[in-house]
C-alpha cells in the first residue's frame, strides 16, 4: 500500500514539476533566457487565482482563469520590462547579455516576492480544489484534485508537444532554438517568435502556479525554492531539452517522494540535489543536453 501511495503521489508531484520546468527550458532553448523570476511568475498566477477565488468570491474556476491571464501578463511584463531592454542595450557587451538577463530576472523575481509579501502578507495561499473529494485507489486515499493536477499537467505538456511538432509556428520555435540566424535568413521575424514563446511560457508557468496553489498551496517565501526546483530539474535534464526536463522532473519527483516516505520528509530534497551535483561533475550538459 505504501508502494502504491509513493507511486501515485510521486506521479502527481512529478507531473507538476514537469509542467513548471518545461516552460523554463523552452524559454531558454528558444530565446536563451534563463528566467530566474520563474517562481515569481508562478506566484503571481497563484495570487491572482487565490484573490479572485477567495477574496472576490468568484469561485475556483474563474479564479483559475484569472490566474492564467495574470500569469501571461506577468510573463509579457517580464519580457518587455526586464529581458528585452537588456538584450537590446548597447551599453551591455554582447557576450555578457545572458549574465545581465540572469541578474535582471533574479532581481525582478525578488521584487515580485517582496511586493506580494507587502500587499498580501507572506501567509501561504491556497485556492480551493478544482474538484473536491477523494478517490479510494486500492486502499490509498487520493484527492480527486491531485489526479486532476496530474491530468492537466500532462494535457498541457501534450498540447505543447502538438504545437511544437505539428504546427508551422511550433516548427519555427524549434528552428529558432537550433539556429535563429538561419531562421531570419528564411524570412521569419524573430521578434514575433519571441512573443509567441513568451506567450506559451506564460501559459505554462501560470498553469503550474495555479495548480500548485490548488494542490499544496504556495507563499511568497516559497518563490526562491520554486525557481531553484525548476532550475535544477532543467539543468539535470539538459538546458533547453524539453524531453530531458520531463525525464528529470520524474527523477527528481520520485527521488523526493521516496526519500520523504522511506527516510524522512526532513531531508526530502537532499538526494536529488546530490544527484544534480554528481551530474554536473560527470555529465555537465545534463541527461539529454546538447551543450
Amino acid at each position: 500500500m505504501l508502494a502504491l501511495q509513493i507511486l501515485i503521489d510521486g506521479f502527481a508531484i512529478s507531473a507538476l514539476y514537469a509542467l513548471g520546468a518545461v516552460g523554463f527550458t523552452l524559454i531558454f532553448g528558444v530565446s536563451g533566457v534563463l528566467n530566474l523570476a520563474h517562481g515569481g511568475l508562478m506566484l503571481i498566477a497563484a495570487v491572482a487565482a487565490w484573490y479572485t477565488a477567495g477574496e472576490l468570491h468568484a469561485g475556483q474556476y474563474i479564479g483559475a482563469i484569472t490566474g492564467l491571464a495574470f500569469g501571461v501578463l506577468a510573463a509579457f511584463l517580464t519580457y518587455f520590462v526586464v529581458v528585452r531592454p537588456i538584450q537590446r542595450s548597447r551599453a551591455i557587451p554582447r557576450d555578457e547579455t545572458e549574465i545581465f538577463v540572469l541578474t535582471g530576472t533574479l532581481l525582478w523575481g525578488i521584487m515580485i516576492q517582496e511586493a506580494v509579501a507587502y500587499f498580501f502578507s507572506d501567509n501561504p495561499l491556497t485556492v480551493p480544489a478544482l474538484i473536491s473529494g477523494v478517490a479510494n485507489i486500492d486502499g490509498v486515499r487520493v484527492p480527486f484534485n491531485e489526479i486532476l493536477v496530474a491530468v492537466i499537467s500532462w494535457l498541457s505538456i501534450g498540447l505543447l508537444w502538438i504545437l511544437v511538432n505539428r504546427t508551422r509556428a511550433g516548427k519555427a520555435l524549434l528552428a529558432c532554438a537550433i539556429n535563429p540566424r538561419g531562421l531570419t535568413l528564411l524570412g521569419f521575424e524573430l521578434g514575433r517568435i519571441y512573443l509567441l514563446v513568451w506567450l506559451i511560457y506564460g501559459l505554462l508557468v501560470a498553469a503550474a502556479g495555479v495548480l500548485l496553489a490548488t494542490f499544496l498551496g504556495t507563499s511568497s517565501g516559497n518563490t526562491g525554492a520554486l525557481t531553484a526546483s525548476a532550475f535544477s530539474i532543467v539543468v539535470l535534464g539538459g538546458l533547453g531539452s524539453v524531453s530531458g526536463s520531463l525525464i528529470a522532473a520524474y527523477v527528481v519527483g520520485y527521488m523526493e517522494t521516496l526519500t520523504a516516505y522511506l527516510v524522512s520528509p526532513q531531508i526530502r530534497t537532499i538526494p536529488s540535489l546530490l544527484l544534480l551535483v554528481l551530474v554536473l561533475y560527470v555529465r555537465p550538459q545534463g541527461l539529454l543536453g546538447r551543450r
Binding site: 491556497t126 504556495t218 511568497s220 516516505y261
Partner: protein, 422 residues
Amino acid sequence: MSKPNPSQQNARYAALAAVLGLAAFAAAPLAQAAEPIRIAVIAENSAIGGIAITNAAKLAADEINAKGGVDGRMIEIIDYDDHNSATDAVRAFQRAASQDHAIAVISSYMSEVALALEPWAARLHMPFITPGAASNEITRRIHEDYEHNKYTFHGYLTSTELAQTVCNFSHDVLVTKLHMKSTVVMSEDAAWTKPLDNEYLACLPKAGLTVLDHIRFSPDTTDFTPLFNQIEAKHPDVITAGISHVGVQPTVQWASQQVPIPMSGISSQATTDTFWRDTNGAAQGVILEENAAPNIAVTAKTIPFAQAYIKRYGVTPGYAGYSAADDVNIIAEAVKRAKSTDPDKLVAALEQTDYIGTMGRIQFYGRNEPFTHGLRYGPGYVTGVVVQWQDGKQVAIWPADIATGELKFPSFIKLPEQHAGK
C-alpha cells in the same frame, strides 16, 4: 509696491527671527512637559501574526492617550519591520535605543528573534517584552543571570506551559469525554517546540494519551502527505500539533486528503479569522490553544479589545495581538509607578505588575522562580483557552467555565467510538 532696501529687509528678518525665537522659548517648557513616552515595536509586518503586534500596540497606545496618557505624557509607538530576520530585529533594537530614544521595546512572536534581542536588552539596558515568543530559553537566561538579563520580560506563556494547557484540555475533554487513548505528536522544528515537545511527551501520557510517535518536520515543508501517511499508519486517536511557522498548508492538506484523525494542540496561524479564509474553510474541526479569542470573555477586557481591533483593522487580532496590547498597558503602568523612564527603575516597576489584561491577570514570576519574568500561569492568572473552528467561528471548548460549545468534527473524522464500531 516698492522693493524694500537691504537694510529694511535685514530689519524684517531680525524681527521675524526674534518673534520665532520668542515663540520657541515660550513653547519649550510646554514641549518638555508633553515629551512622549516612546515604545518601540519590532515585528514582521508581512506576517499576519507579526502585524498584529504592531497594530495592537498602536490601538492600546491610542486608548491610553485618549484617556490623557501617562501623567499627561502621550505614548508614541515607533514601529519597525524586522522581515522575520533576527539581524534586522537587532538593528532596529539598536536604533530604537540610540536614535529614537525608546524607553522600552515590544518585539516578535519568533523565539529565534526574541533570543537574539535578549542580549541586546542586557547590553543596552533596554526593557524588552516579547508578546509572542514561547521558548523556555528566554526565561531560563533571566533566571540564571538575573543581574545581566533582568531587562527582558516574557509577555507570553512559555512552551512548557502551552503544552501543559494542551495536556489539561486533552485530559478533560479528549480522554474523559471522547474516550481517546492515543496520540501522535507532530511539531515543526523550531526553538519554541523543543521544550514544547519535551512537555508534551511528559504530560500527554499523564493526561491519558499514549504517545505512539513523535514527528518533527522542517518548517519549509510544503507537502505534508508523507507526514500524514506516517501518522495514520500508527492509528492514533488524535494528532497533537505544535505548529506556528506553518499552518495553512498542513490544515488544507489534512482536509483535502481527508485524514480521519482530529487535529489538536497549538496552531498559531489558526488564531486569526483570516485563517478560515486562507484555508477556504479547511480549518473546520481544528482544535487549538490560544491565550484569548475574540468572542470569549477571558476577562472583561478581551471582547472590547477584540472588537475595537476588528473595527479598526478589519480582522481579528492574531494571538500576539492580545499580549502586545497588554504589554503596552503594562509598560504605561510601570512608568506611572516608577515615575521615571530610567531602565532599572522601570524594570523594578514592571516586576510589580499586577494588571488585568485581555488574556488574564498578569504578574511576572520573581527572580527565584524558574520562569523568571515569565507570566504567572494557572487558574486566576493566565491559563490559555482551547477553541475549535466551527463554521467560520472559533467556539470556546475549554476551560469549562468559559466554554460556549461542544466539539464537532467534519464527516471524514473517525472518533474512537466509530473505530470500535467498525
